[in-house]
């Protein structure tokens, strides 16, 4: 309506309008300039670009709260701690078995209650100070004594009674209850001489010039821009060949793919099958289709209940019958799913311990394993009393076998899986409804037990104890999510006994056998159907770097390892072409753009001024 009100005031001078405009533009420009200045507080110290030949640049988009190993539990900091701080014992690259770390050897009393470690002599922190058993004991005691120091890894020391360092070369851990799993894994050991000086260690950010024992130390961190790690010359396995690792922030994984094509980063991970295939044949980019330590599956509501056995949620009653759950497994053609949905970028699965841990994973030859068998599925449902109705959907006591399948709408593989499942379930007489929603709703509904089936996934560490533990009865949380964590909301006494038995079995072979038995029960009971172990799809610039170490060494992944193997062995490709220190095309385009803006802006202002002079 604005225009209607304008009458014959045609003499509103264009002069003043233009002046207004100029001011307005100048204002915006000044604002922007001031803004960008404020954004980059005097960082003139880092005026030099890194000597790029020997800096491995990795794209990332992960959250970082701090680099405090006592409090941070996000993925990127956790992975960085593995490079910054050596643990008492490490997990090797070959298959994740326990291997020497700060300790060269260790032994335990007959029941697995007292663990004694011999610390390697003459080790040094990255700042040159000696590294002794006292540092280990101090770190562990911090976590045991102070709540705010146990935020990230408290569960790992829950079973610790006391930790002592009788001399510089010995650490003695006394546990509350015996355990077979080596307690020295996965706890970053920090230097006492640095951390005891910190005022509030629970709030310490530790985000520059860290002091540690691992192969790389944090040099600097700029939120949402970069993380720079420098090689540690005092690393006990020897200084890495790389000078630096630099993480660069890319919010968008498609942008990461473009960045590796253009050579702006040297390594990316976590690609989707589509992105991975798109990179095939890209110049100087080598792909790694690494077997991962994750599983994906369909969790079936077996009638969830809390630790006391009080049931809650809206799971379909039919699913409390294990025959129905077994029928669902028999009706799913996991091999087709793996090939079609995952485009073969996944390994065939048995149970929830992935095949990269051959010592623990349920053996594919185990007699309990049953394959895809539609007739068997129908028979199981018949046996369970669900008879086929006129429309092909089974019913019992007038109730139809209609199930809900909860999936994340943002994840294409979950949606494709649901599309395959619907007709397959129809074949065996189950009406499956795909309820696709956002991740937050999915998480809320699974916590409340408000589901029949949902698409699930976990990453598994080298020792199976934790994942086995969250399948025990006592770990089930209540409907508010308080109390514990559970994988499938399932409970089985026989399984719990096997869990306890393996928990304290010090003989590795016997423990493996117990784990297999426990996994077999879980398989037979079918509270979840494991679909596949997804591969971790990665790519690196083969024109710049070589010699990445995979975990497992045979066909494993480079990033997200349990350990510091992936980048520590990396070397720059020797016959480096001098790529020239000058600016690339981008630099010249930038200069051109700046010149255009300056000239254009100047010319425009000049012409305006001339015009207004004319006019007066």
């Amino acid at each position: 309506m604005n225009h209607r009100t304008r009458r014959k005031t045609k003499m509103l001078t264009s002069h003043s309008m233009r002046r207004g405009w100029q001011r307005c533009l100048a204002g915006v420009a000044a604002l922007a300039l001031a803004g960008s200045m404020a954004a980059s507080p005097a960082q003139a110290a880092t005026s030099e670009a890194p000597a790029s030949e020997n800096v491995l640049r990795i794209a990332t988009d992960g959250f970082i709260d701090s680099f405090n190993p006592f409090t941070s539990f996000y993925l990127v900091p956790t992975n960085t701690f593995r490079y910054m701080y050596e643990n008492l014992v490490a997990n090797d690259a070959e298959d994740g078995s326990v291997t020497e770390g700060l300790a060269t050897e260790w032994n335990t009393d007959s029941e697995g209650k007292v663990w004694t470690y011999t610390i390697r002599p003459d080790m040094k922190w990255s700042d040159g100070e000696p590294l002794t058993a006292d540092d280990v004991a101090w770190t562990y005691n911090q976590m045991m004594e102070k709540e705010e120091m146990a935020v990230a890894n408290g569960s790992l020391v829950e079973n610790f009674d006391k930790v002592e360092a009788p001399d510089d070369g010995t650490v003695k851990i006394t546990l509350k209850k015996p355990q077979a799993n080596n307690p020295g894994q996965e706890i970053p050991v920090v230097p006492e001489h640095v951390w005891s000086e910190v005022d509030k260690p629970g709030e310490f950010k530790n985000d520059e010039k860290s002091v540690g024992s691992g192969p790389f130390q944090l040099e600097s961190y700029e939120a949402n821009k970069s993380i720079t790690l420098k090689a540690n010359p005092n690393f006990w396995r020897g200084k890495p060949k790389l000078d630096e690792i630099q993480y660069r922030y890319y919010t968008n994984s498609d942008a990461q793919v473009q960045a590796i094509r253009s050579g702006e980063v040297d390594f990316i991970t976590g690609l989707t099958p589509d992105q991975f295939t798109a990179l095939e044949g890209a110049d100087d980019v080598e792909l790694n289709d690494g077997h991962g330590r994750r599983f994906n599956g369909i969790s079936i509501n077996p009638g969830v209940a809390d630790a006391e056995g009080k049931e809650f949620g809206t799971g379909h009653e039919a699913l409390e019958d294990k025959k129905v759950r077994q029928a669902i497994r028999a009706g799913i053609d996991t091999e087709t799913l793996r090939k079609q949905v995952m485009q073969d970028y996944a390994q065939p699965a048995t149970s929830f311990i992935p095949a990269v841990y051959p010592n623990w994973a349920l053996n594919p030859d185990d007699p309990v394993i049953s394959g895809f068998d539609v007739d068997e599925a129908k028979k199981l449902l018949d046996d369970a009393g669900w008879k086929e109705g006129s429309d092909g959907i089974r019913e019992k006591d007038g109730e139809k076998l209609q199930l809900r399948f909860l999936t994340d709408a943002d994840i294409p593989t979950e949606q494709s899986t649901a599309k395959f499942l619907k007709p397959w379930m129809k074949d065996i007489g189950i009406d499956l409804k795909n309820e696709s929603t956002d991740a937050d709703t999915e998480s809320e509904r699974t916590t409340k037990g408000d589901y029949d089936m949902y698409f699930s996934g976990w990453s598994i560490n080298p020792d199976p104890d934790y994942q086995l533990s969250i399948n025990t009865c006592g770990q089930r949380p209540d409907a508010e999510g308080n109390g514990g964590t559970t994988q499938d909301g399932w409970c089985n006494e026989e399984y719990d006994k096997l869990y306890q038995a393996q928990h304290v079995e010090l003989d590795q072979a016997k423990r493996q056998d117990l784990v297999q038995q426990a996994l077999a029960i879980h398989y037979e009971e079918a509270p979840s159907v494991t679909l596949w172990y997804p591969n971790q799809l990665e790519a690196f610039r083969s024109d710049r770097f070589e010699n990445f170490t995979k975990q497992p060494t045979d066909g494993g992944a480079i990033a997200n390892q349990v350990g510091y193997w992936g980048y520590s062995s990396v070397e720059p490709v020797s016959d480096e072409e001098a790529t020239g220190g000058g600016m690339g095309a981008g630099g010249w385009i930038g200069i051109a753009a700046a010149v255009i803006v300056v000239l254009g802006g100047g010319g425009w202002l000049l012409s305006r001024r001339k015009k207004s002079d004319d006019r007066e």
Binding site: H3, V151, S226
Partner: protein, 386 residues
């Protein structure tokens, strides 16, 4: 939205106050004949400024003093701000899912660790206490502490505002200059090849999703041609105040700015074109021509200044919208600004940070609306006098 060029409501003409100083209510009108998408643009800006629109419905009759006018507008803005603050708290509490459980998902965390996190985040307190803390915090300028960054939200927003202003400021200037310039030429040479090309191109870009356009540009100029960087604001390690650093920032700026400009400049073009068309049949232009002025001079000195008037208010509205539009562009180009901060906060979910960015974005739009109202009052002498 269907106002014909020839006014069917002559009574409106006698109440210059109505609508004229009310961009929040119907800024889209000038563009409406036959330009549907461009009409929707301002309309969506209007939606985001819904609350002031509602308050503005009781426009003061002609003759109100400036002070009254100003106070009324200020009151409207304040009301919207209060609504935003209340909404900012409750809307995000209503999001499904427990932030702590989401953070703890797939991590070996004991119940004690989860309880410790809850108390660190203040989520163990009753909602009404949390709300009170939030209100007290807002009044004292404390927007809480981010879960992820473990830093005060106000400090984070301050830190990330700069890059956003640089990006949106540059894009706004280019989009406005380009849109208005193309718009006036299009109108002047109505139905010429230039007009058809300029209008349709701008409308095509206008209808393209920002996200898609950004990715396509990224693929062509970043990945394939490798002319321009694929993300970020500056190559890590460069000093932003050195010559190389400034050039580096400019090269990083090009793609995001082009995406932002391409998607929004149509709004300015269509508004300018429509308002200039309005002027073209006016008698005073005939007079100007009769005086012997060239076509260019008639356009630049007589027609355009008058046509510019309605566009200014719309431009102000869009500057607010542009900052909000930065969310998508910053997410595509990994630009370390407020938009990216918001994007990450949603992923968290980082409730205090979400609340903070929501309140700040809304405040920017509300302030821009208020500024549009006031600027209009100053620009148009009739409204000022009225």
């Amino acid at each position: 939205m269907s106002t014909p060029t020839h006014d069917p409501h002559p009574e409106d003409r006698r109440t210059p106050g109505t609508g004229s100083a009310n961009p929040g209510t119907d800024p889209a009108d000038p563009t409406s004949p036959g330009s549907d998408p461009a009409g929707q643009g301002p309309a969506s800006a209007r939606d985001s400024a819904d609350a002031p629109g509602a308050v503005d419905a009781d426009e003061p009759p002609a003759g109100g003093s400036f002070a009254r006018y100003f106070l009324r507008k200020l009151g409207g803005a304040a009301t919207s701000m209060i609504l935003v603050i209340v909404l900012g708290f409750f809307a995000f509490r209503m999001l499904p899912g427990d932030p702590v459980l989401k953070i703890a998902k797939e991590r070996p965390m004991s119940p004690a660790q989860i309880a410790e996190l809850r108390s660190q985040y203040g989520l163990d307190k009753p909602v009404i206490v949390q709300f009170w803390d939030y209100l007290v915090g807002i009044v004292t300028g404390d927007l809480g502490e981010s879960y992820v960054y473990r830093k005060s939200v106000s400090a984070l927003i301050g830190e990330y505002l700069g890059p956003t202003l640089l990006l949106t400021g540059t894009a706004a200037v280019i989009a406005i200059v380009l849109g208005l310039w193309l718009g006036q030429i299009s109108a002047w040479r109505r139905n010429s090849l230039f007009d058809k090309l300029a209008s349709s191109t701008s409308l095509i870009f206008w209808s393209v999703p920002t996200f898609w356009l950004g990715l396509i540009l990224l693929m062509i100029f970043g990945g394939t041609l490798q002319w321009l960087p694929t993300g970020g604001m500056i190559t890590p390690g460069l000093d932003p105040w050195s010559f190389a650093g400034i050039i580096d920032v400019i090269t990083h700026l090009i793609l995001p700015v082009v995406s932002l400009v391409a998607v929004v400049y149509a709004q300015f073009l269509m508004i300018m074109r429509a308002s200039l068309l309005e002027e073209m049949n006016e008698d005073y232009l005939t007079t100007a021509r009769a005086k012997g002025l060239t076509e260019d001079e008639v356009r630049r000195k007589h027609a355009v200044p008058n046509a510019l008037l309605p566009t200014v208010t719309v431009v102000f509205l869009h500057i607010g919208g542009l900052i909000a539009g930065a969310v998508t562009v910053e997410a595509v180009f990994s630009w370390p600004g407020l938009g990216k901060l918001t994007f990450e906060a949603i992923r968290g979910p980082d409730l205090p940070l979400l609340q903070g960015t929501f309140v700040v974005f809304s405040a920017i739009i509300i302030v821009m609306n208020l500024a549009a109202d006031i600027v209009y009052r100053f620009l148009d002498p009739r409204v000022r006098r009225a």
